[in-house]
């Protein structure tokens, strides 16, 4: 069973958000273990670029595994402040440490996030 940490928030498109999801804060975003397991071994990650304006619920990048390509959605609206550059050479970190070293990007929130789920609600949609 995939791990779903209680302290994180989640989107319906299987991203997690770490940090206080309020306007002005910088939060960290990645994909959940459930999503990483479904994708299989990730061989290429294309996060958004630093400075990009991204909108909640829209595609901001992509992840590619041996078997499939998956679009990366942004769970919040804001501006990208940082990108995990280690994923360039080691995209498989998303599989081995989805909630830690496998973080994908950081974003400064500019609009109040409306659709984030708590860990129980996210667990319900992955069953």
């Amino acid at each position: 069973m995939a791990n779903i940490p209680n302290e994180l928030k989640y989107s319906a498109e299987h991203e997690w958000v770490a940090g206080d999801p309020a306007v002005g804060s910088v939060v960290t975003v990645g994909i959940t273990e459930h999503a990483a397991e479904a994708l299989g071994d990730i061989v290429y990650a294309e996060p958004p670029a630093v400075g990009d304006a991204i909108t909640a619920g829209t595609v901001c990048g992509e992840l590619e595994s041996t078997k499939a390509v998956s679009e990366l959605y942004s769970p919040v609206t804001g501006t990208v402040t940082e990108v995990n550059e280690s994923l360039e050479s080691s995209p498989e970190t998303i599989n081995t440490d989805a909630y830690g070293q496998g973080w994908i990007f950081k974003v400064e929130i500019t609009a109040e996030p409306k659709d984030l789920l708590g860990s129980e609600a996210y667990a319900a949609i992955t069953n």
Partner: protein
């Protein structure tokens, strides 16, 4: 339609396999990880459940003559215990399925068909039986197919035998033998496979599948063998340049288009061959030349071409189509197979691929991408 379950279903669940719907069957796409499973097959061994494949038994006084009429290759010339890769073609020379045929006796042939085509193959062969004293029997439900593939496969498979271990080591690639596995289990063992490595495909009774699977794990795990699923099976066969029906092969494709014209036996003056289904159309196709040619492509970027992506020229116009593509674990680069016009089929030709709106370049290369050290 209810999804069918392999006799090894409970084993896959116990191993935490990710199961997917494949050709109406619930099959394991991966167990531990696609790349790990792929690499295990290349360096040690992988254990595959292939019970979804179709198996047909062809018997009768006219069995050999019937096979010669119904299929593209000269099956009647097969040695006893031989194996032959061939195709079932339609009247227009299009491929209805690619098959492996085993000769179990002078008047007994065993055909392995793709799971997705099994029913159509049975129906078509039955239609072609007219006038021949022979029978076609679908034995798929009674048979389980377990494959051990990789450089250590002979060692592992031999270690599974109560009788016949020497045959496992001695048999040539693309031949077969009957062996007795530990526990008194009869197996038809074929030195064939879909990975580009040495390997053995073990056909056993469906009710003995679990015992054979567990026996294989008992003998092979300490040597580095791990269970391997359909995902690694696909990247392995792609690296080996082997076609997949429904992608490289279909009814609108001739064996010549796919670079497999050699499997068609037209016969010679000294050794003529009688009529066979699709003969006239195939002869015309050979004379006319193909309008499309299957090529290998290798990329330098990180993004892979995938089935259905457009192959484009320097101006971005579509000139061909990708049939299969994935990141190659062995080459560390994206690889693909595609149909292109013959003028673009020369190795070294650079083509564009429309990868989800962005152009990536790939270079035409001779198949296979990978060949095992023999």
């Amino acid at each position: 339609m209810t999804t069918l379950r392999s006799p090894l279903h409970d084993e896959h669940v116990a191993l935490n396999a990710t199961l997917v719907d494949f050709a109406g069957w619930q099959m394991p796409v991966r167990y531990s990880g696609d790349i790990a499973e792929h690499q295990a097959v290349r360096t040690a061994a992988g254990l595959f459940d292939l019970s979804h494949m179709g198996e047909l038994s062809i018997r009768g006084t006219d069995a050999a003559a019937f096979m010669d009429y119904a299929l593209a290759g000269r099956v009647s010339a097969m040695k006893l215990w031989g194996a032959k890769y061939t195709m079932l073609c339609n009247d227009a020379g299009g491929v209805m399925d690619d098959l492996v045929v085993y000769r179990r006796d002078w008047d007994h042939f065993f055909i392995v068909a793709n799971a997705s085509n099994k029913d159509r193959v049975v129906a078509e062969l039955t239609t072609r039986l007219e006038g021949f004293s022979a029978s076609v029997e679908d034995v798929s439900a009674q048979i389980a197919l377990i494959a051990v593939q990789g450089p250590l496969s002979a060692q592992i498979t031999a270690a599974m035998c109560e009788l016949g271990a020497e045959d496992i080591h001695a048999m040539k690639y693309y031949s077969a033998s009957n062996v007795l596995l530990e526990g008194g289990i009869h197996a038809f063992a074929a030195r064939t496979g879909y990975t580009g490595e040495d390997g053995f495909e073990l056909f056993v009774g469906a009710d003995e599948a679990r015992a054979v699977w567990q026996l294989a794990l008992a003998r092979g795990t300490e040597l580095g063998m791990i269970p391997a699923g359909l995902s690694s099976r696909d990247t392995l066969r792609l690296e080996a340049g082997m076609p997949l029906y429904g992608q490289e092969l279909d009814e609108h494709t001739t064996p010549f288009d796919a670079g497999l014209g050699r499997i068609i036996a037209f016969g010679t003056e000294e050794n003529p061959r009688g009529d066979f289904v699709g003969r006239a159309a195939l002869a015309s196709a050979k004379a006319a030349g193909s309008a499309k040619q299957l090529v290998g492509l290798v990329g330098e970027g990180r993004r892979s071409a995938r089935t259905g992506y457009a192959v484009t020229d320097a101006d971005g116009n579509q000139i061909g189509i990708v049939t299969s593509g994935a990141p190659s674990p062995t080459l560390g680069a994206p690889i693909a197979m595609a149909y292109v016009p013959p003028a673009m089929a020369e190795p070294g030709t650079v083509v564009g691929i429309d990868v989800r709106g962005r152009r990536e370049e790939m270079t035409v290369t001779a198949l296979p991408f990978y060949k095992r050290a023999s």
